[in-house]
Symmetry: C2
Subunit: 319 residues, 2 copies
Amino acid sequence: MSVPVEKWAEQVRAGDVRAISRAITAIENHQAEAEELLRRLFAETGRAYLTGVTGTPGTGKSTLVDRLAAYYRKRQKAVGVIAVDPTSPYTGGAILGDRIRMQSHASDQGMFIRSMATRGFMGGLARATAEVALLLDAAGKHEVLIETVGVGQDETDIVRLADCVLVVLVPGMGDDIQNMKAGLMEIADIFVLNKADREGAGRLEQQLKAMLSLVMPRDGWHPPVVRTVASESQGIESLAETIGEFRKHFEASGQRERKHVEHWKRRLLELIESRLVERVLGGADGEARLAEMAKEVAERRKDPFTAVNEMLAKSGVVV
Amino acid sequence: MSVPVEKWAEQVRAGDVRAISRAITAIENHQAEAEELLRRLFAETGRAYLTGVTGTPGTGKSTLVDRLAAYYRKRQKAVGVIAVDPTSPYTGGAILGDRIRMQSHASDQGMFIRSMATRGFMGGLARATAEVALLLDAAGKHEVLIETVGVGQDETDIVRLADCVLVVLVPGMGDDIQNMKAGLMEIADIFVLNKADREGAGRLEQQLKAMLSLVMPRDGWHPPVVRTVASESQGIESLAETIGEFRKHFEASGQRERKHVEHWKRRLLELIESRLVERVLGGADGEARLAEMAKEVAERRKDPFTAVNEMLAKSGVVV
């Protein structure tokens, strides 16, 4: 690294786009400097408001995020967008999407957009997303929008980062409320009924409200349903206001602190895991030793529990 | 435990349903006896053929698995079914489903069905599913069917256990091939076009084949498309034969050994992680210490990296 970490941190604090981009790459590659950088920036984080946006493909999440970002920019808020697609093994589409999205904000220094589309980041996509969110927070972004596809464990881990979670649905996509994954109901703070000019919007809203009426409110909050037509910029202001209401409610109820402590419990646990595994499997021959053990186990020459105990004993980690 | 582990293992080997059920509960609860039991049974595993079945809700996976199981039973194969739904926070539905499914096989000792529907098993659902598959393998099941919903990371981890992965699609569910998650294409060894008597089956098959023609075969295998109407038991024999062909191809290509070594690399890594974390956070006050640290970090009194280093240093694990 040609730039010393303290200077790099200074550039990030000033919102320098190239410094931020370089930091994200370092985070993705799990480089030691990324940790050093985040360590220095950490005290200045915790100010940004994180909004997670999730929904199946075709619901218009990207357009919605784009319009929400534009809304915040008009109100002089600095905005960061992290678009995560853990199901995509290719970055091509995401990069193309970035370019298209970037164009409309190209000259805007208060807007930062980044896609994270590949699996297999060292240490996991959720960790990398969380660290990028911290970075954008330290870079002075007021609003950080985290967009992710679907509701697998990965995505759930990602949206859990957010202070407020939007679940986007559209009429007539065949995902009847009955078939809707239970996971979605659990994580939604606000439902967005996008493409609300389509046939079936009224029916979907009715179904949704009927289902929501059966669910206990969490900390006094009943997830509302907001209608939008993101492609026409309709309903965006109303959505932003609803996010604002949730934020107020959330902060008043003391839920924010509790959620943040829960969040950091998970994060610390993940950090502990990766530290320890690096200790046992680090070094040039770590991967080879693991492969050798796996072969012995696959051939039933050794059981997995004995294999692991032997690896731990040899690694010098006292267990 | 009233029964000594060696006797318990003996009962599992003999296919005793109550012994198997008790072992699954021990696995789910991450009890020490489960490990002791699996250690004893391990040498006798590796014989069962594992078929994973995945697809979005409403594709008729359960019926398909049920009919496939019945097909194997008619041919005197002992069958185990593990139905996993990581998105369901409730076990109610799954248990009800089990009962309904059990009824048709109630008096059949060669058939074992178990649902695993809750998140938050100690050590993860993928780990628990993998250990239950080992157990059923040791219990002499020839065919183990693992049924799971969707394609999140959790589900991907689960189906990766399988020797053969079926992806189930149905016509007219709005999931156009274009919207189909890339993850599904990657993991499918065989596509099942279920409810093939519905309108749109031909179009879906065409789309699927067009898409498959663009994909490189893996180890010389082109994922075929098999049409079924599971509710009418149509196409089940043809599907079972295709699974048999894949098995032959798979074993001839040497892919099986390679896949098993990869599988055990992941499993050993997970075991290492959970062992080490238990060491650092085990004991009566482990959870409390983690919560305390998380609070300090959430309040920005300490950065997460320093917090983790301190916890590791105190734990006696040499890092």
